[in-house]
């Protein structure tokens, strides 16, 4: 395991595994049963992760380059916008493209029909300005994309030669064989994929059982009955939204046991499940005890605070440099999968202020910085000339 060539990636696909088999190394092959392109080991500790369908979000998740298997991500959103819904659609579309089993709770089939269309693997679709091509440090070619956030960990395992120039021909061939871990999607198109029909829709129907019990049973049944290597994605849009859920669903004794059991379902060692849940914060504020318990029962908690619409004009005129889109809101991370379960800390992404931008092609998360105040020029100049003493005036 340790002496494997790292740049190839463990999820190298079927042909690699068969090659290993043919060279009479059954142990090695057994150690890497991952023939699933949608799953790859985390660069941090090797646990299997799967992509959220948005590379920027993958990179945010505490160095794992994806959502670790068995973990849930709760996305809370303020206001009436639906940025979290876009993230959910990316997540669902990625699952469809990777032939994973997608379960959608409480949404009709129309939801699945509006999944964003596939552009291609995220590395190709990523139009990164190839500025630093020439001045790369050749010695650390493996790590060259680890440091910067936009490319981040998710990009590091991709064939390096997408940005390299020397070995580009060979590696391009390599990439054609290698299935991508994360794809790029276009929100204005519709996804057409053969396995889109495999999405399961679990309705929020009233039965004589307590609410949520039937949902949990259906999820559990389909997870336990599927072949052992199937990867599942559970999608719960707008949890507790009163237009979807009955009032009694927001009672703690109804919702919390469900989330707890979902956690139990996902932590079973044989199950390979990830889940993404969104929740409207305008209806259920974070300052309430119930929401705090919902957060405590999830492995990752992210809040989206979209800017009010008038802020767009401000931001465009301000310090946003050319070529960058203005941020549409602030993203706060309260808890990241695995990292906070261990106690937190030591992640370069923790504690930063993030801004997000949703464009047609991607959901991008960038460090947030306030632009300098625009209309304050006179004051600044005035301050510079009069209030600040000249250097010569300062005598020590």
């Amino acid at each position: 395991m340790s002496f494997r060539k790292r740049n190839i990636g463990l999820s190298a696909g079927v042909d690699r595994a068969s090659a290993l088999n043919s060279t009479a190394q059954p142990q090695q092959a057994a150690a890497a049963p991952e023939t699933n392109p949608g799953i790859r080991p985390s660069p941090d500790d090797g646990r299997p992760t799967t992509s959220t369908g948005s590379r920027s979000l993958d990179n945010l998740l505490a160095g794992h380059g994806g959502l670790p298997i068995g973990k849930t991500l709760l996305i809370e959103e303020n206001g009436t916008t639906d940025f979290a819904g876009a993230l959910l659609r990316y997540y669902a579309a990625e699952g469809v493209v990777q032939d994973q089993k997608v379960h959608v709770v409480g949404m009709p089939e129309q939801w699945g029909r509006s999944l964003p269309g596939l552009i291609g693997p995220a590395d190709v679709a990523d139009e990164k300005p190839a500025k630093r091509k020439g001045e790369r440090m050749k010695i650390a070619w493996r790590y060259e994309r680890l440091g910067e956030f936009g490319a981040g960990v998710a990009g590091s395992r991709a064939p390096v030669a997408t940005t390299g120039d020397q070995a580009s021909s060979a590696a391009n061939g390599d990439q054609a064989q290698q299935p991508a871990f994360c794809h790029a999607f276009d929100l204005t198109k519709r996804l057409t994929h053969p396995s889109i029909a495999n999405i399961t829709y679990i309705p929020l129907a009233r039965t004589n059982e307590p609410f949520f019990v039937s949902i949990h049973k259906r999820l559990q049944a389909s997870i336990t009955q599927s072949p052992p290597n199937t990867v599942h994605r559970i999608i719960i849009p707008s949890l507790l939204n009163p237009t979807l859920y009955p009032p009694e669903a927001s009672q703690p004794e109804t919702i919390l046991p469900f989330l707890h059991s979902l956690r139990a379902l996902m932590s079973a060692p044989s199950a390979r499940v990830t889940a993404m849940i969104t929740m409207p914060l305008s209806l259920f504020p974070r300052s309430s005890g119930l929401v705090r318990w919902v957060e405590l029962l999830n492995d990752g908690v992210i809040e989206l605070c979209p800017f009010p619409h008038s802020a767009d004009a401000l931001a465009t005129s301000g310090a946003v440099t050319a070529g960058e889109e203005p941020p549409q809101g602030v993203l706060k991370t309260y808890r990241l999968p695995v990292l906070h379960e261990r106690g937190g800390g030591s992640d370069q992404n923790v504690g930063q202020d993030w801004a997000f931008t949703l464009s047609r092609r991607k959901f991008e998360i960038k460090p947030f910085s306030l632009p300098p105040a625009e209309g304050d020029k006179e004051a600044q100049e005035g301050a510079g000339s009069s209030a600040m003493p000249k250097k010569a005036d300062l005598e020590f």
């Binding site: 949990h216 707890h260 309430s288 119930l290 318990w293």
Partner: protein
């Protein structure tokens, strides 16, 4: 930052001397979880005598005690605790590949050696998984299962067989240490209402404690059992008044469990909405969840000898600080005779959990 042993020196006096029949409350918040501290308690109690001798010697206790631990976890499964305990390596992580094998805390092996028992409050607490496959499983409201019934192996579940077999019924004595099963042997089920449901859980946990206490030939003295209740406040939050479980019932439940053990550690969430919304000065009226949680948390702190609070750094996140640990005396401090409670002082320190699982604890400015 220099490497620190699995039990950082600043932390050692707090985690390694727990007085007789004491309660220690460990409170955490969303962004500063207490699992690492629970692991340090485990390490202090279970690590090999060669390591712990010095730690215990400091506190004037009579050498190495026969210590055992029962961990009841309501939010995290066996896999998490097992893999995280393995990471408690005392050599520095760069050497980890070579030392992991025999350092660290192997909970599976300790389970076999009957020094440790895990009670799984996550897997089947609320929804019984076998109901989905329509296996007839009688639900015992008060676990009145006669003890004379022979241990019954659970039916082969549709879950592929890597999961350890759960004990099928509460109340059955079937923990056979000789069996090669690794993993949780007891899974808790919550059924019924009110104190009856809690009593059933208490009986299940007490059974596990008794099995662990049962003398093994070759062991001289009565073992000291440390009980760690990991986030039982979930029970309170997820049941609510309609099920007849409130802060008082939970307090009684913990007290009942304390009677079986040498010392008890209770971890709780103490996020501000769960504590402060219940106060009279809160802007909006508190929900029952908030009132009961606050009552339970504050009541437990009053009954505790020591309260360890974890919280985020007030000044925002930092790259080399994970959070703040405050150790203070609980409401029950000083009730025992002097000297029996160890020598420690109230303190506030910073801690940092490294990527490799190591923790360093240091004072402000150090």
């Amino acid at each position: 930052m220099p490497a620190q042993p699995p039990l950082p020196p600043l932390l050692a006096p707090y985690v390694s001397s727990l007085p007789q029949s004491s309660l220690t409350v460990l409170s955490s918040v969303l962004g500063a979880t207490g699992n690492w501290l629970v692991l340090r308690f485990l390490y202090a109690a279970l690590s090999a005598p060669s390591n712990s001798e010095t730690a215990f010697g400091l506190n004037g206790s009579e050498g190495v005690k026969n210590r055992k631990v029962v961990l009841v976890s309501f939010l995290r499964g066996w896999e998490f605790w097992r893999s995280e305990a393995k990471r408690l390596v005392s050599f520095y992580p760069s050497m980890c590949i070579f030392y992991c094998g025999f350092e660290g805390l192997d909970l599976a092996r300790l389970t076999d050696k009957r020094q440790f028992a895990f009670v799984d409050g996550l897997s089947e607490l609320f929804y019984n998984p076998t109901t989905a496959t329509a296996t007839p499983r009688p639900s015992f409201p008060g676990t009145a299962a006669p003890r004379t019934v022979l241990p019954v192996r659970s039916q082969p579940s549709p879950v592929p067989a890597r999961t350890p077999q759960p004990v099928p019924r509460p109340g059955n004595v079937s923990t056979n240490p000789a069996s090669r099963e690794i993993g949780p042997v007891k899974r808790l089920h919550l059924s019924g209402n009110g104190t009856a449901a809690l009593d059933a859980l208490e009986r299940d946990i007490a059974t596990v404690i008794k099995q662990l206490k049962a003398p093994i030939p070759g062991e001289a003295d009565e073992p000291e059992v440390l009980l760690i209740l990991d986030q039982p406040d979930l029970l309170l939050a997820a049941t609510g008044p309609s099920k007849g479980i409130g802060a008082t019932e939970m307090g009684d439940w913990v007290m009942g469990l304390q009677q079986n053990t040498h010392a008890t550690i209770l971890t709780l969430s103490s996020d501000s909405p769960l504590i402060h919304n219940a106060s009279a000065s809160a802007p909006q009226p508190a929900t029952p969840l908030e009132t009961e949680h606050a009552a339970f948390a504050i009541g437990s702190a009053h009954r505790a000898q020591m309260v360890m609070q974890l919280r985020n750094l007030e000044t925002g996140a930092a790259r080399d600080v994970s959070g703040v640990l405050r150790v203070s005396k609980g409401g029950a401090w000083g009730q025992n005779e002097a000297g029996a409670e160890g020598s420690w002082e109230e303190r506030e320190v910073l801690y940092f959990v490294q990527r490799d699982g190591g923790v360093s604890v240091f004072g402000r400015g150090e």
